[in-house]
């Protein structure tokens, strides 16, 4: 009976409304946090940072943002890649225009810029719904990528069209550039993700979260109980884009250090993040993390297994990888359309009864 609620009486509405009302959940989260903050930085090296941890953190943040829009507010978006690009290019312009600006401020401002852009591209959501909206958000994807390609000002008239992050320090530690230490980069990104995960959780469990969900579940009824559709949808677009923008900023500044827009922020990124949200679990903060972890690790494992384990040539392995990813995704959607978060929920229910399975 690992997960036992019995004996944990909730004596007030306050306790009842806590983020983790069950004690065991609080323990799990505490252990995860200690490991992530204290243990991982001690052992982490270059490969793990750049191939696993940073991608995971960046995509978890992006997935969190997209989940707010799709999972909580019910508006499908395929523009994630484009919005990440806004974050990245905003971060680049801000760092190069104001070399003295603190990196944290740069990233937060990039998020704000992206939020603004997100609101503009969210405007059609007032008139169109569902897949019509999804297709409309592709406009954002293609337009933004085109913009950052064509307008040289965005990449400071660089001949290659690529943007490169100069070295920046936070509290005397180098966070960006080739000389930055893996553990520092990791901790920097991790702090962002922790703070924003808490913020997301706070938002979705309060008035604003209910407002979004009411629009998602039944927009007409929501409006008749006083929810303003315009306000709700645009606020979801804004918050979601803010997250995605910061994720794009982190991707460029801390993880890759350099980016070329068509390569780094193409439509495949939009799909990747959407998959993370769906496989993780729509409308679940935890799910965003699980989905990101799953889709970051899966290709690495597949590739290592095929190239390293079976000795398949990398080109063929690439095709097999794509095929396998496709098969896995379909399989997953058939078996558990509610995502990994639901699986975790079910496991917890089982553990609650364990070892007496009745």
């Amino acid at each position: 009976m690992l997960y036992r609620e019995a004996g944990q009486f909730k004596t007030s509405y306050e306790a009842d409304q806590a983020v983790f009302p069950i004690r065991q959940d609080r323990w799990v989260i505490a252990v995860v946090l200690i490991v992530a903050l204290a243990a991982v930085p001690l052992v982490i090296e270059d490969y793990w940072t750049n191939a696993v941890m940073l991608p995971f953190l960046v995509y978890a943040l992006a997935a969190l943002g997209l989940n707010i829009l799709v999972g909580y507010c019910g508006q499908i978006s395929l523009g994630t890649g484009g919005f990440m690009a806004v974050g990245a290019f905003a971060a680049f312009k801000l760092t190069t225009m104001f070399p003295g600006m603190n990196l944290i401020a740069v990233l937060l401002l990039s998020g704000l810029v992206t939020a603004g852009v997100g609101v503009v591209f969210g405007l059609p959501s007032l008139r169109i719904k569902g897949f019509y909206l999804a297709v409309a958000t592709l406009a954002a994807q293609f337009f933004l990528v085109w913009l950052f390609n064509k307008v040289e000002w965005f990449y400071n008239y660089n001949a290659t069209g690529q943007i490169t992050m100069p070295p920046r320090e936070i509290f005397g530690f180098l966070v960006t550039g080739p000389a930055a230490k893996p553990a520092v980069k990791y901790l920097f990104a991790l702090s962002f993700v922790i703070v924003f995960a808490v913020v997301a959780k706070n938002l979705v469990r309060g008035r604003i979260g209910r407002m979004w969900m009411s629009i998602r579940d039944m927009d007409i009824a929501a409006e008749l109980i006083g929810v303003r559709p315009l306000h709700s949808k645009l606020s979801a677009f804004a918050v979601s884009s803010f997250y995605i923008g910061v994720a794009g900023g982190l991707l460029f500044t801390v993880w890759l250090g350099a980016a070329e827009v068509t390569e780094a922020f193409g439509i495949d990124k939009s799909f990747l993040v959407l998959f993370m949200v769906i496989i993780g679990g729509l409308g679940s903060v935890l799910g965003s993390f699980l989905g990101a972890g799953f889709l970051v690790l899966m290709p690495i494992l597949l590739k290592n297994f095929m190239v390293g384990g079976l000795g398949i040539s990398p080109v063929v392995a690439k095709h097999v990888e794509i095929t396998t990813m496709g098969v896995l995704i379909i399989l997953f959607l058939i078996v558990e359309p509610h995502g990994l978060a639901r699986l975790w929920q079910i496991t917890k229910e089982k553990l609650r009864l364990w070892p007496f399975p009745y």
Binding site: P124, I128, F142, F275, T323
Partner: protein, 301 residues
Amino acid sequence: MGDFTFFLETTISGLMTGVMYSLVALGFVLIFKASGIFNFAQGVMCLFAALTLVGLMEKFGLPAWLAIIATIGVMIVLAWLIERFVLQYMVSQSPIILFMATIGLAYVLEGVGDLMWGSDVKLLDIGLPQGASDWMLDNFNIYVEKLELVAGVVAAAMVAVLAVFFQKTRIGRALRAVADDHQAALSVGISLRTIWVIVWSVAGIVALVTGIMWGSKSGVQFSLSLIALKALPVLILGGFTSIPGAIVGGLIIGVGEKWAEIYVGSLVGGAIENWFAYVLALMFLLVRPQGLFGEKIIERV
């Protein structure tokens, strides 16, 4: 006068591209109408069909006509496989899950196509006429590719055949019934599963036709699957469920895009064809939210 000729040539060329978009959009509409699935794999299906066709001709030396028939067979088998291994298990899922599944399907088709036939650019030559049409040059002094004329004619024929299929045949009527009401379809005596196989087969054949036309023009390669992305605005414009919408929408987008490319694109540095169609479709929606042929719906509670 030269300006006008140029304008005409642009328009015709736009129409021809538009026909292509119409075909792809038609593939989307067929499946969406019959099963409510937004089939993102439609573009990759074009690529897959074209790859299969080229592969059969190159590797097995089949003559074009035989290869086309064989590819039709492959597309039907594919439809059956998709129903058997994917759709069957997803009947009651929400639309977004089905949509994501078709993206998964797109990955699979892309991977399998490349694994089987290689990912290098291939020429597709089934003997369609190439070069400029002398007849158009002589009579109207306009430069038009023969291939584009053929594509236009084939697409028109395709649409006509589909129209007859949907209006006149028993299966076609069942398909239309299923779009409105699943029970009605059952009363026609065809199971839902069969209908899905048929619809996906038809969409597969439409994909093959698109693949042949586009592949003959620009070779068969991954980018072929991207025309699906360019055909999507057609769906906002014409509606996800309207066949006439897909056709007219495709033409509007094709022409609008060409005009924009030439008269606007040059002002802003070019290459706007990737997003212009979307903006066009969105602007249109602002004026007419119900799309081209949709009726104004007032929601109820």
